[in-house]
Symmetry: C2
Subunit: 373 residues, 2 copies
Amino acid sequence: MNNDRRFGLKRHITLPGELALDGGSLLTGIEIAYETYGHLNADASNAILICHPLTADQFAASDHPITGKPGWWSRMIGKGKPIDPERYCIICSNVLGSCLGSTGPSSFMPGTETPYAMNFPVITIRDMVRAQAKLLDYLGIRQLKAVIGGSMGGMQALEWASTYPDRVKSVVIIASTARHSAQNIAFHEVGRQAIMADPKWRQGNYYEEKDPPVAGLAVARMAAHITYLSESGLTARFGRRLQSRQEKSFGFDADFQIESYLRHQGIRFVERFDANSYLYITRATDYFDLAEEHGGKLANAFRGTKSRFCVISFDSDWLYPTSESRVIVHALNAAGAAVSFMELSNPNGHDSFLLDAPDLHRTVHGFLEGDRA
Amino acid sequence: MNNDRRFGLKRHITLPGELALDGGSLLTGIEIAYETYGHLNADASNAILICHPLTADQFAASDHPITGKPGWWSRMIGKGKPIDPERYCIICSNVLGSCLGSTGPSSFMPGTETPYAMNFPVITIRDMVRAQAKLLDYLGIRQLKAVIGGSMGGMQALEWASTYPDRVKSVVIIASTARHSAQNIAFHEVGRQAIMADPKWRQGNYYEEKDPPVAGLAVARMAAHITYLSESGLTARFGRRLQSRQEKSFGFDADFQIESYLRHQGIRFVERFDANSYLYITRATDYFDLAEEHGGKLANAFRGTKSRFCVISFDSDWLYPTSESRVIVHALNAAGAAVSFMELSNPNGHDSFLLDAPDLHRTVHGFLEGDRA
């Protein structure tokens, strides 16, 4: 599936050697698809790694090859924007387990033309980061000027700081958490069950039939999408407003605008995302618990770090609320790290970091500038 | 389906005449299944109507005929409890559209042996209440000492106060709202889409095959169930604790206790509930907007009321948060109604009203006692 370059990928490598995964297995022939913006300077000191959220991809600041839409973070990355390709070499790679060119369940197993499907090993956030580190090795980048991520991207940024402390000068963690809560896991589990309940899922073996479990995946997306928005944001944007009809239909069509919007989100999503990848990547986030990897004490994850940290939360984010960011900040303080923390006010819930958020953009810009002193 | 009395119903009537529904159609031959606890006194002045929440039923204080579990409000109703059958005649009827004996989509259309399925008309909360009023007519109860309901039961209690102000002396509204918000609708829409995405739903015509869309209905229940619990309650009860295994499985079994719990909720639910009823009843709650029925002004719903009101919310309820109760209280104040309002502290989210909540029980008891003065 991915191997046929159908996405018109600009950049794509096969990692040399093998990758030992947290789950105990070895992956070989790992392909990583990535995009870059800007140029690496002579001493390779201007590289910034962007870690993408759950269902995003490497097209952070370039048009998406399937949807044709602008990059998911094109508000943040671009000329004259906080992360400027005229100054930085910006790298964004599709995470291991995903479906936009990097190895995942829809990829062929090495030496075969059979997709992994559910034979793909369960991976962790740390496994994703290890693959990214190998990509940087290949690109000749020893140390990142910064690693920056929102949501699941923030989890990767935390893992970078913990696993490769000498390779990250600065770390920006936005709308994220150091561990998935019971409620976070619960929402993901609903999504996974929706996919697995779809008979077209076929225990994951739907690739040959080219008839994927789009209905289940759409329901999973709809459930998740509610958690990305705030109650007040939904009320402001949709409230109880009806669709074009002025009257309720007394039927089961999408009467309310919010219904139509959610259905649309589900339908659009299945065009660009693989159901099995959704299973694996949600599992990776549910498994994420940085403290657990360090003897149950989050501060241990950052002992001796020389990185600078910037932690940002949004007041209307109920998926990873400010309290989760505070846990990270307290641990960083306990580890003696240099950390700045900001809770930003924004009505758009968890998705604030992807939307028009001038104070987020100012904060990230200021933090990156602060490193030049 | 319902007509065969398979539930061993104690009480069951066919309403005389027809019922004109808000959606414009007429229903005839409506059956209402109900339970009573205690005896009606000579002047029929001690009747209390209990309105049940979304997926509950008439078995408020008696064992459930399918699950064998104690009544869903047996903490509230019983000898020596706040609503005491030694003093009151307590009535609880299965709502119109449901599946425990009252007419709903699984019922045969009058004069046929064909279930309504999706030919059942879309009903409203007010339609449910109109059917209850006809039941009370049959029972010879002109005026209720009290109508009491939590969640969707609270919506019915509000409709009672608005539609039949002379028939309710006291109204108790617990953990409820006067209108469904965009987020409320969104969660219900996910559930409906999960059911309709299940190929076994067959456009609602699954009764003959006796092979209902249990997978979709279970996913719907799982998504809804998350909204019934608080984040902190989930963390306290489950956190990230693993199932019996001490290690993560690096697979897709239920590793975390919260996953196993949610799956269990889904599986148990489909044994006792009809998928089409779930569609219709969630639709009724989404349509509910008491202000809209009264020219857009909620206070108009209560103009001239002589009923006493008690409004109760829980601080950890994020489905119908305290702010929704305040909207009701403000409207009641604006209408000059006698109203007492209490926000109770309880870690169990929306479901608090069904669980061990001594201060809820005290409040309801005190409010009912207050009427005797």
